[in-house]
């Protein structure tokens, strides 16, 4: 198998995730798009690790999986808090920092 096919698949997933982060206005959907991006990175890490013949890529992708789990937990807690305070998770309405 070529290394390129995994890298190109991960590039496509990454770009779809970027589109989702920019376009979606629901907080939960933005978190889902971030998961797409993190998974694209994981494919890259494991493919490069297999290419160099060391387990480092797999170790780093395990770390990324654990950090992503923590990120989703805290992110969903924040989204819940926003919903409780404003009764909406439309992130386009969160513009108090705008002057």
């Amino acid at each position: 198998m070529l290394l390129n096919q995994f890298l190109l698949l991960s590039a496509v997933l990454f770009c779809i995730g970027i589109y989702g982060v920019v376009v979606r206005r629901n907080g939960v959907m933005v978190l889902m798009s971030i998961e797409l991006i993190l998974n694209a990175v994981n494919i890259n890490l494991v493919a490069f690790g297999a290419n160099t013949g060391t387990p480092m890529g797999q170790v780093f992708s395990l770390f990324v999986i654990a950090v992503a789990a923590a990120e989703v937990g805290v992110g969903l807690a924040i989204v819940l808090l926003i919903y409780r305070n404003r009764h909406s998770i439309d992130i386009d309405e969160l513009d108090e920092l705008k002057g």
């Binding site: 629901n26 978190l31 387990p55």
Partner: protein, 184 residues
């Protein structure tokens, strides 16, 4: 001389794990097509629960890719953590924020759509161009079946301190999520 060189080149092209990996390539093609379609639906569907379920397809496809790369432990962890835990968290988040469970038209911000398409296309061109220019015909060197052993030796050897820091991070995230989400 030239003929023997040609034969040797053909043998090298065939024996460099190219011919035995035809089933793997077919599996990769099918999974990649499903993953790209599902990822596209995650960011374009109008139904938020459907987005979560399409995300299951993408994450399982990533697990299949890990299996194709002979990273069994990462593949099992991917299925356990993502499909088993994170998707359930997402579904809980959808339920608790009383998201519209049916079709809803205000999941997207139409004003941001040109910016999103531009950002995605530019990064796709840059990424795909650099990847194709750098690794045009590099083969993935898949070696022996000791991958799990090597991973465990690495985690509990040179990466022990990052591993322990990671467990502290998970504990901090757990406590932080409880503190943020509890009512008072």
């Amino acid at each position: 001389m030239i003929a023997s060189f040609g034969t040797r080149a053909a043998e090298a092209a065939c024996s460099a794990s190219d011919c035995p990996s035809v089933p793997a390539n077919i599996a990769f093609g099918i999974t990649a097509a499903i993953m790209i379609y599902a990822a596209f639906r995650v960011v374009t569907t109008k139904n938020i629960v459907h987005a979560a379920l399409f995300l299951v397809l993408v994450l399982s496809g990533v697990g299949v890719n890990f299996l194709l790369l002979q990273a069994e432990f990462v593949a099992v962890t991917q299925i356990l953590v993502y499909v088993g835990a994170i998707i359930v968290l997402f579904l809980f988040g959808i339920m608790l924020t009383r998201a519209p469970l049916g079709r809803s038209d205000d999941l997207d911000n139409p004003r941001n759509r040109p910016a999103g398409i531009a950002a995605a296309l530019i990064s796709l061109v840059v990424l795909a161009g650099s990847v194709i220019a750098t690794f045009s015909d590099t083969e993935v060197a898949l070696d022996g079946p000791n991958s799990v052993e090597a991973v465990s030796d690495s985690i509990f050897g040179p990466y022990l301190i990052p591993f322990e820091v990671l467990s502290v991070l998970l504990l901090a995230a757990l406590i932080g999520a409880i503190v943020l989400a509890r009512k008072d």
